[in-house]
């Protein structure tokens, strides 16, 4: 019987016109990104547009995952493939710029209805490259300093205060350097925004000038001193880990990870977040469609669904504690009050607007990382 029904399916599949398609979604990021597509977005899409299937491919955590997607596009471009094997890709902000300048991407945002709901500047400029129209933000994430209020009743409100606090409390501040995940990278970028000596806005918006990179010596010297007084943690999760076990009292974390850990009971419920002045970077992850995607129409439908207020509310905010990719005001009506408030308990929307910064543009970003490698040893 079972075999017979399989045969019937096979026959039907062969006879029906090839309307049904398999949509390939390549995503960078942790396993939770793949799970999000496999367990939530994919089934929802398959239900909304029956007959089509979604195949999610995870390319690995962090920048490495996006780098792999970029290299895959590079390879297919230089092989002159007519149809590329990816329909939708989810990549980090840093990699969208090169994809646009190399003409790999389709300018699709005006084609989909939800395109109008995007308001943040980071959907127009990605670390100094104009990507307007090529990307839809999947979500926005933010880094902040997590702290243990029983050990730190009055958390430092700025980088300058933080510097003094860490001096007075050796080894109580922990961060993961720059090789163990982006929360540490973000902390370092914030340090340069605060003490870099130049104009932080130039770092965030360009243009790139070599002499700007010469102004950071004092900042890196103080960061090196700061680091000898700090605890170095193994990775983004490592910082939260040490925080939960009381080995450190404070450290930079991703806001979404912090809330997820808290929800899972892996962090004590009284832990809090603060966004120190002048601010710390956050970044979106973007949906992009390759110019030569095999199923472009379907890909647009997929992204339109994924960025609809309902999905942004249910999937992005409620499930993952990320900030929505589209304008938050459109998402708010879809959510109950508690969920909405939870997202803004420690960091108010005003904080986020004034102290949530983008990462520096790519050349400054690399220059800061390399200067860190050179001076903080």
């Amino acid at each position: 019987m079972k075999r017979l029904s399989f045969a019937a399916f096979a026959m039907a599949a062969a006879i029906l016109p090839a309307k049904a398609a398999e949509l390939t979604v390549a995503t960078a990021g942790d396993q939770n990104m793949v799970d999000y597509i496999n367990q939530y977005l994919g089934p929802l899409f398959e239900k909304t547009y029956p007959g089509n299937t979604v195949r999610a491919v995870g390319t690995g955590a962090g920048d490495a995952g996006s780098q792999k997607i970029l290299e895959r596009f590079d390879a297919q471009s230089s092989a002159n493939s007519a149809k590329w094997d990816t329909d939708v890709a989810v990549v980090h902000e840093k990699f969208v710029g090169p994809m646009v300048t190399k003409n790999y991407l389709d300018k699709y945002r005006s084609d989909i209805a939800t395109g109008k709901l995007v308001t943040r500047d980071n959907a127009k400029m990605a670390l100094g490259t104009n990507v307007d129209g090529y990307v839809m933000p999947m979500f926005n994430s933010q880094t902040a300093i997590a702290y243990n209020p029983t050990l730190v009743p009055n958390p430092p409100k700025s980088y300058a205060e933080l510097k003094d606090w860490a001096k007075a409390h050796p080894k109580q501040f922990g961060y993961n350097g720059i090789k163990g995940g982006a929360s540490g990278v973000s902390f370092v970028m914030g340090w340069i925004y605060a003490f870099g000596g130049g104009d932080a806005n130039v770092l965030m918006n360009g243009p790139f000038k070599e002499e700007e990179t010469k102004k950071w010596d004092a900042a890196f010297k103080s960061l090196a001193d700061f680091t000898t007084n700090a605890t170095l943690t193994p990775g983004n999760a490592g910082t939260l880990d040490l925080l939960s076990r009381g080995e450190i009292a404070m450290g930079p974390v991703w806001v979404d990870m912090f809330y997820s850990w808290k929800a899972d009971g892996r962090l004590p419920p009284d832990m809090k977040l603060i966004l120190p002045a002048p601010g710390m970077p956050g970044q979106p992850m973007h949906y992009v469609i390759p110019e030569k995607a095999a199923n472009k129409d379907l890909a647009e439908k997929f992204i339109a669904l994924a960025t609809s207020p309902k999905v942004q509310a249910e999937g992005i905010v409620k499930r993952f504690n990320w900030y929505p990719g589209i304008d938050a005001d459109n998402v708010k009506p879809e959510l109950d009050k508690d969920t909405w408030n939870k997202l803004f308990v420690d960091i108010s929307p005003e904080d986020l607007a004034t102290k949530g910064k983008p990462f520096p543009i790519a050349p400054y970003n690399n220059a800061i990382l390399e200067a860190y490698e050179k001076s903080v040893k």
Partner: protein
């Protein structure tokens, strides 16, 4: 078809695999190390030494130290398995010592991360035994953690080789020494060990090369500065998309690994002379 052609035909698939999956990428990465902005040059190496000299030394010292400790531990294990007189203890040791060999490096990293942390199991046990106070507890998640991970994981492999070689050493010499009243330690160092040095050296060199290439352990235990070269290579590729310096670092670690092999070759040539 002559037998020779047939032979070549049979060996072709494996030869192709080696050529295209090992030799070719190796050559490409060696060539890539000397490419700077579409031109030839040593820029990648200057940058590698400028930024990572400390890490190069760190890798060499960490892996060297681990190799020495692995040598000591595996000789101790092999020696007890060969010369031990308590049958139950020998049986237990024989059963236990191989376990870490079947555990992947990344799992070792994960286990030790929980074990060696400041409030990890090791310190907790020491505190509850009254050996130290919670205030004295320090985290071992630095170079010590890497050494512990390497030694823990690689010792069984070398011990397995060494114990096998020791078992095949002629018992008559050992028994003669016992009859003449030599202590077991003396038998180990003066009779057994000299006969298994080649095996020991092979095991240690293989371990050295393996440890040079491990990425997961430094990433999980200590991806700070200084760290192992593998973590730097991954960082160059993932954060900067910079294959040039990554290739240069790869060549440098190849030189480190090859130098050990060279020492080994010299020893074995001297023995034959």
């Amino acid at each position: 078809m002559s037998r020779r052609v047939l032979g070549l035909f049979l060996v072709a698939p494996s030869l192709a695999v080696i050529l295209f999956l090992f030799i070719l990428p190796l050559c490409l990465s060696a060539v890539g190390a000397f490419r700077v902005d579409q031109a030839w040059g040593l820029g990648n190496f200057w940058k590698a030494f400028d930024l990572y000299t400390k890490d190069i030394l760190f890798s060499a010292v960490i892996v060297g130290l681990s190799t020495v400790l692995i040598g000591v531990a595996s000789v101790a294990i092999g020696g007890y398995l060969t010369l031990g007189t308590h049958p139950v203890a020998v049986a237990i040791l024989r059963w236990l010592y191989r376990w870490p060999m079947f555990i992947p490096f990344i799992v070792v990293g994960q286990i030790l991360r929980a074990f060696l942390a400041k409030n990890g199991m090791m310190n907790n046990v020491a505190v509850s035994l009254g050996l130290m106070t919670p205030l004295d507890a320090t985290s071992f998640l630095d170079w010590r953690g890497i050494v512990i991970a390497f030694v823990w994981k690689q010792t069984p492999f070398v011990a397995l080789l060494v114990a096998g070689a020791m078992a095949s050493v002629n018992r008559e010499g050992i028994e003669a020494a016992v009859n003449l009243g030599a202590s077991r330690l003396r038998i180990l160092f003066e009779i057994v060990l000299p006969q298994v040095t080649t095996t020991l050296a092979v095991g240690l060199i293989l371990s050295f090369v393996t440890m040079m290439s491990v990425l997961s352990v430094p990433l999980m235990i200590n991806a700070q500065s200084p760290t192992m070269l593998t973590a730097d290579i991954a960082f160059r590729v993932n954060s900067y998309g910079d294959y040039g310096v990554a290739n240069a670092l790869g060549l440098i670690s190849l030189v480190l690994a090859a130098s050990v092999a060279w020492i080994y070759l010299r020893i074995s040539l001297k023995e034959q002379a």
